[in-house]
Amino acid sequence: MFIADIRKDFYEVVANQRVVLLVAPDIDALCACKILQALFHCDQIQYTLVPVTGWQDLGTAFLEHKEQFRYFVLINCGANVDLLEMLQPDDDSIFFICDTHRPVDVVNVYNDTQIKLLIKQDDDLSVPSYDDIFRDEDEEGEDSGNESDEGSEPSGKRRRFDEGAVERRIERQRAKREWEARRREILFDYEQYEYHGTSAAMMFFELAWVLTKDTKDMLWWAIIGLTDQWVHDKITNMKYVTDIATMQRHVSRHNHRNEDEENSLSIDCMRISFEYDLRLTLYQHWSLYESIYNSCYTSCSFKLWTLNGQKKLQEFLADMGLPLKQVRQKFNSMDMSIKENLRDVIEESSNKYGMKDIRIQTFGVHFGFKNRFLASDMVHATAALLESAEKDDSETDNFIKALDALSRSNIDRLHSGIALAKKKLIAIQQTVASCICTNLILSQGPFLYCYLMEGTPDVKLFSKPMALTLLCKYLLKAFVHSTRNKRCKLLPLVMAAPKDVEKGTVIVVGIPPESETSDKKNFFGRAFEKAAESTSSRTLHDHFDTSIIELKTEDRSKFLDALITLLS
């Protein structure tokens, strides 16, 4: 069931209890986790934090802790499956689920006792009504009751009554079959597309705000959670802009309190400001040239994998009057005269080259003289740390490192994350360039398909789901810009990359087609399930996003064929 009052029905319930936090491995979940941890520290609520990387991990963690804990908080996992069936908990276990995955499973919505959803009800849910899906099973009893009553009557009368009873029974069964068919249809429509709702970090920030325990740190984490949804293309533009407006209200509320002419805050205090900043990834921590070269938006608009595109880039820079020497050095070392009006100058020139949205609404933070970060910088850095492909680090090690990087006291970790993010972006750019130039993207009819061969440079980076999804989106955008085939521009993309060479598995990701007004609804989850079933391929649907699966390399071709037949 949905929780109406998050303070009364969630926070006060766990106030004197011990809680287990099960957190999924994405940046929004990490930010939500940090906010909740800060609240728990304030009120001394004892908790245990366990990172979970998939459904199996979730099950194991639940089994380990179910003896000792009654209350479980699941962050960014668990809403889109029937949780009670999967975990088989005892009757006194209570689950609080704050998850952005939609559609929320109907059993989770209509269970009154054990599942509490920390999700806003107006959040674009369109849950089917109760009567359409659930039905009480006591009509059968009435029929047999009638028959035994009439059994004492004489046979002639009985036959007539029997006929009436039989007719009524047939009528009831037909109605039941119709109801069941309609139910299947409703459920199919409801569960067909997967998409995302409001950020979990924003939900917990709202809880903090209601408790008046919100701080600037928590606000910054909420902003990072929201920006993560935008960077990884999980929410629509409209929703992003609306949520930014909500956050802007909070930011101005926090900024209004402290500063005036006489008592200005020390430079070391944290300041969050609204920025209408450039869409160039990490540009303040890199050189301007590299940032333009490796950002998805600019790279696809200029078509930087072609010689022509690179010439255009040089023209663009010349048009703005930026000398190459300046542009290639670290951003912080550029001349002040250039940095002053940079955003306006770039916006003006980009309009000439057809890039209308070079600027995007976002937030930045700065504390101390050296530390300035944009929200998207933080997202890229933390994502790179979370999915770093070092041999010795397990996934939980990476989780802990990424969690640490979000604290302001661990700037070194953050800088190492930024360095990793730069490498990742360069790798993505090069892979995209090589895929387009060698025509690796094939149209299979209802969708586009691309397979990264084992020997591809940096292919280890792309064995992780978030990195592969990012590559997928860049690739699709680049393809749409480079192809002439009008029909192909509207197709979705399925991408496969080797995951584990020893076990012989690949990771397969599907994303919806690229368009300006896309609603980001992804139907590949159900499609993958059905294709795997029909060909009995050995697949592992372990990831919380149903559109990402693991597959045995040998079954790849038959899986693909099944998918083609399914979707055509």
């Binding site: 941890q37 609520i45 245990t48 366990v50 380990e64 000792q68 939980t396 006291s409």
Partner: protein, 196 residues
């Protein structure tokens, strides 16, 4: 030269100036005591001789030996007293059960002194705070908070806290637990205090 052995004892303690307890130097102590005994006997015979025969020339050597005796006495008492102070500090650092390697370095009398010190401290603590007593050996500095966040560095299995709940300490899980329960595990290296 006289008093060399006594200085050796002092130097030994001085070398370990950070409060560690070196092994009880029974040999050295015995040698110092033997030297003192030898000096004393020589002095005795000289004093008798001086008294009976009135030879005033022996008096400076008697004085010298007497000074050496006093110096040895000072050094030995300083050695023993400093060791006792270190042993007392051990109670506050390690608690009432000492690790075996430390106990190995103490002689029997020191062990006895330690157990009596423990007893007095315990009865003092019991007498504080009404009927319940107060453990003053915890929290030498005022703690910032009752609960701290800890991260588990290796798999440690199950861990019971005061009200009976059992926490499963798995690698890389984080927990928010009462400070006093965690301190021992932090010292062992199983948990790490997370400062955010």
């Amino acid at each position: 030269m006289f008093c060399e052995k006594a200085i050796e004892l002092i130097r030994e303690l001085h070398r370990m100036s950070d409060g560690q307890l070196p092994a009880f130097n029974e040999d050295g102590l015995r040698q110092v005591l033997q030297e003192m005994e030898a000096l004393y006997e020589q002095n005795q015979s000289d004093v008798n001789e001086a008294k009976s025969e009135g030879r005033a020339k022996l008096i400076p050597s008697i004085k010298l030996r007497h000074c050496c005796l006093l110096r040895n006495q000072r050094c030995v008492t300083a050695y023993l007293y400093d060791r006792l102070l270190r042993i007392r500090a051990l109670r506050w650092e390690y608690g009432s059960v000492l690790p075996a390697n430390v106990r190995f370095h103490m002689c029997a009398e020191e062990l006895q002194w330690f157990s009596q010190y423990k007893k007095s401290l315990a009865s003092f603590m019991r007498s504080l705070g009404g009927n319940e007593g107060l453990d003053i050996t915890q929290d030498m500095k005022p703690p910032k908070s009752l609960y701290i966040e800890v991260r588990c560095l290796k798999d440690h299995g199950e861990f019971e806290i005061d009200d009976g709940t059992v926490i499963l300490l798995k690698k890389n899980s984080q927990h928010f637990l009462p400070r006093w329960k965690c301190e021992q595990l932090i010292r062992q290296g199983v948990l790490e205090h997370v400062v955010s």
